[in-house]
């Protein structure tokens, strides 16, 4: 019973195309995230949504547009794909975006989507 799922697992496409990656969580969490792990293995946050509202938006090109139709879904749409977009993209979720009562709200990660732009 997958907690955070992503589709597709692999995505190979040509430069200039538009593509989407879907993410769904069945944990009842309020907050969802997108991370990018580049070729240097750095895992960096891109966006965070809480209750369908954008709360964190790092320095990400406008070609990347997250969409949250409901709390359980956070999809990532990428326009005009470039070679540098090739990476593994991870979706994650947590109960809250804040640290409450001195406790860290664990983030649960999906299995990742490996995007290759040719």
């Amino acid at each position: 019973d997958t907690a955070v799922s992503q589709t597709p697992k692999y995505l190979v496409t040509q430069m200039g195309n538009d593509k989407s990656i879907k993410c769904e969580q069945n944990l009842g969490h309020d907050t969802m995230y997108w991370y990018k792990q580049d070729s240097k293995k750095f895992l960096k946050i891109m966006f965070s949504y809480n209750n369908k509202e954008l709360i964190i938006n790092e320095t990400v090109p406008n070609r990347f547009s997250p969409k949250s139709p409901d709390k359980a879904h956070l999809n990532l749409h990428i326009n005009s794909l470039e070679l540098g977009d090739s990476a593994v993209y991870f979706c994650a979720s947590s109960q809250e975006p804040r640290i409450l009562f001195g406790s860290y709200n664990e983030q649960f990660f999906g299995p990742g989507t490996r995007l290759t732009v040719l």
Partner: protein, 115 residues
């Protein structure tokens, strides 16, 4: 700007011995420090955390030590098991707009536990 650094890309230990994974950071505003474990073709999974006001947290075979003056933390695994072989990411939380926070990750250390 690499705020969380894991300077050892890999570590190899014998089964039953201690594994020590190290992490250094530069941002004194970090609230929490965490370790995530990642197997190939899977997403990272949370392992253990420590608040910035503590210096040690233990959970079974895993212990995290925090030295704030040195801006250094380490993860000890005792005894190490072959199933512990994975990439270990050090991460830290920092405020990002109001009361929200975000995770900043290191590059990871590949731990190999040999039988």
């Amino acid at each position: 700007d690499q705020q969380v650094k894991q300077n050892s890309p890999s570590l190899s230990v014998q089964e039953g011995r201690i594994s020590i994974l190290n992490c250094d950071y530069t941002n004194s505003m970090f609230d929490y420090f965490l370790w995530y474990k990642k197997y190939p073709a899977e997403g990272p999974t949370f392992l253990i955390s420590i608040s910035s006001i503590k210096d040690k947290n233990e959970d079974g075979r895993f212990t995290v030590f925090l030295n704030k003056s040195a801006k250094h933390l380490s993860l000890h695994i005792v005894p190490s098991q072959p199933g512990d072989s994975a990439v270990y990411f050090c991460a830290a939380t920092v405020r990002s707009g109001g009361s929200n926070y975000k995770l900043t990750f290191g590059k990871g250390t590949l731990l190999t536990v040999n039988p």
